[in-house]
């Protein structure tokens, strides 16, 4: 049974507010006293996902599900989708526009970083339709 689910909307190209959803999620997890190291892993994943949506994904949502045994992050956007998923998962591969790289983003570490930090990582994407990511963080050590 899901204990708590919360959905945050993320707007494409809105760099002013980029990262706010992740900060909110982080602060929720902080308020229930979750282990700081785990919060950091979840924070990084949320932030990378949020930035991906802001840069490529168009509008979308970042959701969190808090269960007694695990925490799940969902990314769901209606952006351009990813053509070659295998390539996109490689470190250093990036399709970010030059202007974003100049801002310090788009180093091609987003998806691989998420995969590295989550206990379970699944991604599905359709060109022209959007991308969905599910990341699970186990609370049982």
């Amino acid at each position: 049974m899901t204990d708590l689910k919360k959905i945050f909307h993320v707007k494409g190209n809105d760099f002013t507010h980029a990262g706010e959803a992740s900060v909110n999620i982080k602060n929720m997890l902080k308020s229930i006293g979750l282990d700081p190291k785990l919060i950091r892993r979840i924070g990084v994943c949320g932030y990378e996902g949020e930035m991906n949506m802001v840069m490529h994904g168009g509008d979308g949502t970042l959701s969190i599900e808090i269960n007694t045994d695990k925490i799940i992050l969902y990314l769901d956007d209606n952006g351009p989708g990813i053509e070659d998923l295998e390539l996109a998962m490689k470190e250093g591969y990036s399709t970010a526009k030059d202007e974003y790289r100049e801002m310090g983003f788009g180093a091609g570490m987003g998806l691989p970083n998420m995969k590295k930090n989550a206990d379970e990582f699944t991604i599905s994407s359709k060109v022209g339709r959007g991308t969905q990511v599910k990341m699970v963080f186990s609370l049982n050590h």
Binding site: L4, V23, I32, G46
Partner: protein
């Protein structure tokens, strides 16, 4: 009669002046203030002495508890410990002239804190270098200098205390021995030596939370001595003694008071500086989120533009900055102390604070019990019901804080103006939450 009362180690509140506007409630970065209809203001234990509430109160109902200069008793030797910020306050004068001026207004001796800021910078570089090998603390490392920031981290970001480097601040480095040295020099007993810290920072005076300045006897704001000192300096200027001081060695000290001045004096390159309380909070949020792990060290100052923007300064902070820039241009920021000697005392543990920053929260008992998932869920539901506008009529800074107060049993549903006049439907929803009243 003035109906003052002290509501934190730092804050004095006058309920007769307070209109209950809640500006302070909203301004507080640790959400420490609640205000009720009867204008009773109360702080929970989280005052970090930042002074935001004092600055924002439109009626001056809040003030900070600032000490006056101690009366120097007969036979006492008064020693000024001089914050380098003082040098930014007099555009036409050189640091050495300002020190001379201090002697003319009654100090028997002056100690330039710049010596200790330089030592601190050597120690910081060394600590960062060693930490890269030992990986003892997670990066980015955080500057321990600003007392308000350290308290902010204790209260709002305790997870980040691990990243604060455990070194003493320059003013804490003033050794006990200095009293012995001075007592020998002036031929008086040690307890007749009065060390007086001349500072831009009201927060230094609050000796709670590790910021205890054990070797300092008193503190005085730059603003308290400014007039007397500037009169004296004007006289000196007329007598033109400046040629004596053309050989001033380095503007590294004056630079310290400016945002970025601490890191500019470091060998470590992968650093940045943040100033202002809101900016600081934004960056601490990001660090807690896991960003900037590739940065070695971050300087934080709660005052805009750094300590030159401190509440006890007199000169406009941007003009002060200009003065510092001119000094840097003229004298550079070369080092005056030997690294070898600094490293030798580093090995002996001279720089390390007795209390590790990571132990502060435990020691000072600032601890908020975590919410259960069940309570967090109730809190989120309550927020959905309120759909509020953060009006603060309830006395809390925002709806989220109010909702948390409610589920923790510290506020009543009826404090909320939206919930107070609820319809039957909403009442059902609230009853379903079965909150403690």
């Amino acid at each position: 009669m003035k109906n003052d009362n002290k509501i934190s180690p730092y804050l004095i509140f006058d309920p007769d002046i307070c209109t209950g506007c809640a500006a302070c409630v909203k301004a507080c970065p640790t959400k420490a203030i609640r205000i009720k209809n009867d204008k009773s203001i109360r702080t929970v234990d989280y005052c970090i002495t930042c002074g935001e509430c004092v600055r924002i109160c439109p009626h001056s109902a809040l003030s900070s508890d600032i000490f006056d200069m101690n009366q120097i008793g007969n036979g006492q030797i008064s020693v000024a410990i001089v914050s380098p910020v003082l040098y930014s306050q007099f555009p036409e004068m050189l640091p050495e002239e300002i020190l001379t001026g201090l002697k003319k207004i009654g100090f028997d001796h002056t100690i330039d804190l710049s010596r200790y800021t330089e030592l601190f910078q050597y120690a910081t570089d060394e600590y960062i270098k060693r930490n890269k090998i030992s990986n003892e603390l997670p990066t980015p490392l955080i500057s321990p200098i600003c007392p308000v920031i350290i308290r902010l981290i204790m209260v709002r970001f305790p997870n980040l205390l691990d990243q604060v480097i455990p070194l003493k601040r320059p003013v804490e480095l003033i050794e006990l021995e200095i009293k012995q040295q001075l007592s020998d020099r002036f031929g008086v007993k040690k307890d007749l030596i009065n060390l007086c810290n001349i500072t831009p920072c009201p927060s230094q005076k609050v000796s709670t939370h590790m910021m205890k300045l054990s070797n300092i006897d008193s503190s005085v704001g730059i603003n308290k001595i400014y007039r007397k000192l500037s009169q004296e300096l004007e006289k000196m200027e007329e007598n033109d003694t400046t040629s004596l001081h053309e050989s001033y060695e380095s503007a590294r000290g004056p630079m310290w008071g400016m945002s970025g001045g601490e890191i500019a004096g470091l060998r470590t390159e992968n650093t940045f500086a943040v100033s202002g309380l809101n900016e600081t909070i934004t960056y601490l949020e990001k660090i807690e989120l896991g960003l900037f792990q590739d940065i070695d060290y971050i300087e934080f100052r709660c005052c805009p533009e750094g300590c030159i923007g401190g509440p006890l300064t007199v000169t406009d902070k941007y003009l002060a900055k200009n003065t510092v820039h001119k000094l840097v241009e003229r004298f550079g920021i070369g080092r005056r102390l030997s690294q070898e000697k600094a490293l030798r005392i580093y090995e002996k543990g001279f720089f390390f604070s007795e209390t590790k920053p990571s132990e502060l929260t435990r020691i000072f008992g600032i601890h908020k019990d975590p919410l259960s998932i069940e309570l967090l869920k109730k809190m989120e539901k309550l927020l959905d019901i309120i759909q509020g506008k953060d009006c603060s009529v309830c006395g809390a800074p925002d709806c989220r804080t109010f909702a948390e107060d409610v589920v923790r049993g510290k506020a009543s549903i009826d404090d909320c103006i939206i919930l107070k006049y609820r319809d039957a439907d909403t009442d059902e929803q609230i009853k379903a939450l079965s909150l403690k009243s």
